[in-house]
């Protein structure tokens, strides 16, 4: 008898080709994608440098830093703009060399240079700190010597200069500060996608949709009426989770609550619209759940939430940029941890708004066609 049930289950699964595709094809696709994409060691970390000295010695340092491809250096005009580059997310690190560097160096008075590093992502911070150490290695210091025509070169000192490291934004390198803002986004994504994902398909399965469409209700009223409650519930959930984060884990507060509210509202709208789209293309609640899961998993792994975006190969990175969660992570870390200027987050907000437009338009087209 048990075999009969097992056989029946297989038969049922076989008759649902979409589900088979979701069960077999999606895991394979994701495995290949993650296999190619997920690397812990990033390359080409953007580093802004402000070299006031511009001497032979400082060139040595700058060149060494950019040498092995880990850092990708570009010059800025002031210390303020160096910090701003990091705050805006355009650079992950920065290097400041003061104008008296060479003067102090030749007098063997151990000048200091400052390495600034974004502390938002503690694992990356540690890696960057480690990689920056090459500038104080013998490779460089051995080249900092006095020329003497009669004798062999004299190295200035074993430690000719000192590199200070300043961690910006999350000086205590709290992992919670790094993860928690993203976790909020993941939770909201789960709730919104699954709640909305099954909403229409459930009405289809239970036959209430047919009964509803016989009434004089317009399709637009139906869509809005269907979406608004989930937006309210998910907004409430967002602040509930965030409130716990503030209370239990001492998450920092944003400079602008309005900007945070705007982020919550736009991000939730993206997720609800995407959920609605899933509900329209699914034929059963089971299919809707699977599609939702297959959106959530790559979102978590390819968005920069856990692994830095810089660690994802260039040819796969476009996928990261079509994931709405990528922009949410960037904005919420900017708002809560880095206090990034709103003008620097403008394009991230714009990207999220574009997702709302795309998903809503697609939903309208499919909705008109199918229902």
């Amino acid at each position: 008898m048990m075999w009969a049930i097992i056989k029946k289950e297989f038969l049922q699964l076989r008759r649902d080709p979409r589900l088979i595709a979701l069960i077999l094809v999606m895991p394979l696709l994701l495995l290949v994608l993650f296999g190619l994409a997920l690397k812990l060691e990033p390359e080409n970390m953007k580093m802004a440098y402000f070299d006031e000295d511009c001497s032979f010695f400082t060139m040595l340092i700058d060149t060494e830093l950019g040498n092995d491809g880990y850092f990708n250096l570009y010059e800025v005009e002031s210390l303020e703009s160096l910090k701003e580059e990091i705050r805006a997310g355009r650079a992950k690190a920065g290097l400041h060399i003061k104008s008296d560097f060479s003067a102090l160096l030749v007098e063997n008075r151990q000048p200091h240079i400052t390495f600034y590093v974004d502390g938002t992502m503690p694992s990356l911070t540690t890696a960057m700190k480690y990689n920056s150490k090459t500038v104080t290695s013998e490779n460089i210091t051995s080249q900092m010597y006095f020329l003497d025509a009669n004798e062999s070169n004299v190295v200035i000192a074993k430690t000719p200069f000192i590199m200070d490291t300043e961690i910006l934004f999350n000086p205590e390198e709290k992992e919670t500060w790094f993860f928690l803002p993203g976790v909020i986004g993941v939770l909201i994504m789960q709730i919104a996608l699954i709640l909305t994902g099954i909403s229409v398909v459930r009405e289809k399965e239970k036959n209430t949709l047919e009964q509803l469409f016989v009434t004089s209700i317009s399709k637009m009223t139906f869509v809005i009426g269907k979406i608004v409650p989930y937006i309210i519930i998910t907004m409430f959930d967002f602040y509930l989770i965030l409130g716990v984060g503030w209370y239990l884990f001492e998450l920092p507060f944003p400079d602008s609550q309005t900007a945070l509210f705007l982020l919550a509202f736009i991000y939730i709208s993206v997720m609800i619209a995407l959920g609605f789209l899933i509900s329209l293309i699914s034929q059963t609640q089971q299919q809707a759940m699977f599609i939702a899961i297959f959106i959530i998993v790559p979102s978590i792994l390819l968005s920069g939430f856990i692994f830095p975006l810089e660690a994802i190969p260039e040819y796969i990175r476009p996928i990261s940029y079509i994931i709405p969660f990528t922009y949410f992570v960037e904005i919420i870390r900017g708002l809560l941890i880095k206090h990034t200027l709103l003008s620097d987050l403008f394009y991230d907000y714009l990207a999220l708004v574009s997702f709302v437009i795309v998903f809503v338009s697609l939903s309208v087209v499919i909705f008109k066609k199918k229902l």
Binding site: K206, N207, T208, Q211, V214, S216
Partner: protein
């Protein structure tokens, strides 16, 4: 009240409704009969605006379906109310879908259909009969002129079925037009007008009485005979037999006007040693229905 002209519907390239026309006057109970897969549900879904026809026109009270939604109600074959909501919440919700906010009429309906006792019960917990009543109340909440009922009494016990039909008459007396699809002959007999649907086409139309007379000259004979597969075997090849139908100990044979009944009598006597004589009977709706909707051409 309901005017259908030349509608055609194909689903997955297969013709489901083929150039169908009907004109249903106001205030009657119109029954649509047809075997499974004849296109009844497709037709009623088109009339309610759930499906669109490929060609042809449908008008309800001289308006296209989309503009007439507020003047008709629909009770689908399967329960289409929200199981988690209470009886009252469902009624109020569906009333609001038509812009009705006054609860006086809704309370009257609740009492009329004896649902007052279940007012706060979740709809999912109701018995089959009460679920139908609730569906009916939801469809009537906006006081429509036309009511589409897709197999409204399928799976319902005879007592509830009778109660529902008493109510259908009352609704028709109030001037409402009822469009009912059904499999039940007893139910079909109750309709003022009928149409038989087979393979997407109307094969007979009229009152139950005129439909019974529609089989030009076809006669029905019956004989007392217990079921035997041999009867079917010997009779099925005879030219002119339209239908052989066994009812308990009675064998009913429908024949075309030119078919000689004596030949049949002789076969029954010779091959099956039947002693009694075939007697002419009156056709009932089921005989006509099977004769018209079976594959054998009349």
């Amino acid at each position: 009240m309901i005017k259908i002209e030349n509608i055609v519907k194909k689903i997955a390239k297969k013709s489901v409704i083929n150039k169908l026309s009907l004109d249903i006057p106001k205030g009657i109970i119109f029954g649509l009969l047809g075997p499974n897969g004849a296109g009844k549900t497709t037709l009623i879904r088109m009339l309610c605006g759930i499906l669109k026809s490929d060609s042809g026109t449908i008008e309800i009270n001289d308006k296209p379906v989309e503009e007439a939604k507020h003047i008709f109600g629909y009770v689908s074959q399967s329960f289409g109310q929200y199981e988690e909501l209470s009886v009252w919440e469902n009624i109020v919700f569906y009333a609001q879908m038509y812009g009705v906010t006054d609860t006086t009429r809704l309370n009257t309906l609740l009492n009329r259909y004896n649902l007052e006792q279940y007012r706060d019960t979740p709809a999912g917990e109701l018995s089959g009969g009460y679920k139908r009543r609730l569906a009916l109340v939801c469809a009537l909440a906006h006081n429509p002129l036309v009511l589409f009922l897709d197999e409204p009494t399928a799976g319902i016990d005879p007592v509830t079925r009778k109660l529902l039909w008493d109510d259908f008459y009352a609704l028709s007396m109030e001037g409402k037009t009822l469009f009912v699809t059904t499999h039940y002959m007893e139910e079909a007999e109750r309709c003022h007008q009928l149409a038989f649907l087979a393979k997407g086409e109307i094969v007979a139309e009229g009152t139950p009485a005129t439909i019974k007379d529609s089989l030009n000259g076809v006669r029905l004979f019956s004989i007392t005979l217990s079921y035997t597969p041999l009867a079917m075997q010997y009779l099925s090849d005879i030219e002119g037999i339209v239908l052989i139908n066994q009812f308990g100990n009675e064998l009913r044979i429908m024949i075309k006007p030119d078919c000689d009944i004596e030949t049949i009598q002789k076969i029954l006597e010779d091959k099956l040693q039947v002693k009694s004589k075939l007697k002419q009977s009156t056709l009932d709706l089921e005989d006509v229905f099977i004769a018209l909707t079976q594959d054998k051409a009349l």
